[in-house]
């Protein structure tokens, strides 16, 4: 069975750089790629009744958008090269969900782009890549 590499994508430049590094890695080692888009979401948040009513509709359109504008464009190019690629869109806490997806897929490596947030932003919201590095059970490559 080929190795699998998980790449976290969010449409940002950093995540594109992470993807190109991961693709290079996949070519050299003949590995498969899993492209993951995680939509930040907590089941313990507060909403108005109106938002609850529209939730299902919004969820569908969020997934659609992630597929259409971020995952699918990359998918075609990689597949043309002959790399085996899977895509997955999931709601949840970003770092935690990436690790769960990695576990489920049995990946041996995770690639993620560095967002380069300001120090203040990181202090308040934490850094996804730092959280991944701290808690992952497989090697994590943070691409600047």
């Amino acid at each position: 069975m080929a190795n699998k590499i998980l790449v976290a994508l969010d449409g940002s430049d950093g995540s594109k750089r992470a993807l190109s590094a991961a693709a290079q890695h996949a070519r050299l080692t003949d590995s498969d790629l899993v492209l993951a888009y995680v939509i930040d979401w907590s089941p313990y948040s507060f909403h108005t009744p109106q938002e609850l009513e529209e939730r299902h509709k919004r969820r569908e359109s969020e997934i659609q958008r992630a597929n259409d504008s971020v995952l699918n464009p990359e998918l075609a190019a990689l597949q043309a090269e002959g790399i085996k690629v899977e895509t997955v869109v999931h709601h949840g806490k970003i770092a935690e969900t990436l690790l769960e997806l990695g576990d489920q897929q049995g990946v041996s490596q995770i690639y993620i782009g560095r967002r380069g947030e300001s120090r203040m932003h990181t202090m308040i919201f934490g850094s996804v890549s730092a959280a991944l590095v701290q808690t992952s059970s497989v090697p994590v490559t943070v691409v600047p």
Partner: protein, 499 residues
């Protein structure tokens, strides 16, 4: 949209020029209407010297029946409710859908309102300390009614083609009866309920809230807002307008996020105040129990205290009114029973926890200084009880009251809207008309006196529990069957925890 803001602005200016006596004029015009509606709905049966309103009896009998019929689901389901809210049974494949926690939080912020602060004070003033005991008991029994109505709400909800869902008593009344071969009656009941919730939303979920928020603001500002109710009302109406018509979601979102913390903050300080008065606590608790069975000094004695307690409990936790079932219908689950079980927690949080805490704050203050509140009633009385310990407390309390009122108004504008769309269809124009009416009543609420407002709100809200509970009796066997099957599958391990 801009034009509507201009109209509001012009209204504001023209009213300013003729401010003298406006509050009074509106008040004297609405009072007789209110007392008439109140008399009709609160038709009272005199028994043993007490006046028993028929609707209160109706609700209590329903709650007792559902508690026994469902085999004390309010006790049995409690632990499972917490597991569900924690997400122990959440299917990972439904990521990003409305969770049990979110549905509960939304429904709770609709019910935790001024009733928890001011309604309890009203109960204690009219029904004596003993009313608290009956209030708690009513909360406990109400858990079963909530269970039945929220299960049905999810089971019979309506999923529209574009993916949005809406449900509630009007839908389960119509479909449930039609399944039992009573199509015509079901349609009638659904329509009856929809009219009731649409009009009732203007009372309990609107005028009562804005009125008490104004009273509290006025009292912390030392009466600086006397006679300016119309101004506060217009400002409140403008904010509600900006959220429900202007679509300024950020205001609603911020409110929904702050309200839970305000509720925790309120309970925390209430417990501190109770502890500071700890020496009077035993006396306060014994007053509650004694008053419950002797009804000393209460019109109608123990029965009088009981009626008041029950009435206020329903007014606060809305069990039997069916409103929460509208909020819970948004959850996509294959097991409607799970939503019912989660909803058990609402009367528990609202009545058994928050109302009891308020009652104890007032009760301990009464023991320490019987005349602590002077003439103050409602929220003002609760505020006075806090003020004895923390002189600065009325200001954050006024802020909390304002937020509670606001979030309740937002939730109820939605409930009322669902009644409206059931009756008049989903057209955008119709929805805007309803929302404008809603905003007008927000402003009106700040102008009229508390008495007539309470009469109107109570009357309208209790009116809709008539079709709702009647429907629940008919549909309860369906709920019972699903409940038994659900618990059997939990026991056999067919339904597993994911965590």
């Amino acid at each position: 949209m801009k034009r509507l803001f201009y109209i509001l602005g012009v209204l504001l200016c023209s009213v300013t020029t003729a401010q003298a006596g406006i509050d009074e004029a509106i008040n004297s015009a609405t009072a007789p209407i209110a007392s008439f509606i109140g008399q009709v709905v609160f038709f009272k049966i005199p028994i043993f010297g007490a006046q028993l309103p028929v609707v209160v009896l109706w609700l209590v009998v329903g709650a007792v029946f559902f508690t026994f019929y469902m085999g004390f689901i309010n006790l049995r389901g409690f632990k499972h409710a917490i597991e569900l809210v924690r997400g122990d049974y959440a299917d990972p494949n439904s990521h990003g859908e409305v969770s049990h926690f979110q549905a509960l939080a939304t429904a709770v912020s609709g019910t935790v309102g001024i009733g928890n602060i001011g309604g309890v004070a009203v109960a204690v003033t009219v029904g004596g300390p003993g009313a608290t005991f009956w209030l708690i008991l009513a909360g406990f029994l109400g858990m079963s009614t909530k269970f039945v109505e929220c299960t049905l709400g999810v089971k019979y909800r309506n999923e529209f083609e574009d993916g949005h869902v809406s449900g509630g008593p009007m839908y389960y009344l119509r479909q449930g009866f039609s399944e039992r071969g009573m199509e015509g009656f079901g349609k009638f009941m659904g329509t009856f309920y929809a009219i009731g919730i649409f009009i009732g939303a203007l009372g309990i979920g609107n005028m009562f809230q804005s009125n008490q928020a104004y009273v509290q603001l006025n009292s912390v500002s030392g009466g600086a807002l006397d006679g300016l109710g119309w101004l506060v009302g217009l400002i409140l109406a403008a904010v509600v307008f900006s959220v429900i018509i202007g679509g300024i979601k950020s205001i609603a979102r911020v409110t929904e996020k702050i309200v839970p913390f305000m509720a925790i903050f309120y309970c925390l300080f209430a417990i501190i105040v109770i502890l500071m008065n700890a020496h009077t606590l035993p006396q306060a608790i014994s007053n509650i129990f004694n008053g419950a069975f002797t009804g000393e000094g209460v019109a109608g004695g123990a029965l009088g205290a009981m009626i008041i307690g029950f009435q206020r409990a329903v007014f606060s936790n809305e069990a039997g009114i069916g409103s929460a079932s509208i909020a819970h219908s948004a959850v996509r689950t294959d097991e409607p029973i799970t939503e019912g079980i989660v909803s058990l927690l609402e009367p528990f949080i609202d009545t058994i926890v928050i109302c009891t805490i308020t009652a104890l704050v007032i009760g301990t203050a009464q023991v320490a200084a019987p005349d602590f509140a002077g003439d103050a009633q409602g929220v003002a009385m609760t505020s006075a009880a806090f003020e004895r310990e923390f002189s600065w407390f009325p200001i954050p309390l006024a802020f909390a009251a304002l937020l509670f009122a606001f979030s309740t108004m937002i939730s109820w504008s939605y409930y009322g809207l669902k009644g409206w769309t059931y009756l008049f269809g989903e057209s955008d124009r119709g929805q805007t008309i309803y929302k404008l009416i809603f905003c007008a009543f927000v402003a009106l609420g700040c102008v009229v006196q508390l008495g007539p407002i309470l009469d109107i709100s109570d009357a309208l809200v209790f009116l809709i529990c008539v079709p709702n509970i009647l429907g629940l009796y008919f549909l309860a066997p369906i709920v019972k069957r699903e409940m038994n099957s659900y618990f059997a599958r939990i026991k056999s391990g067919e339904i597993k925890k994911f965590k």
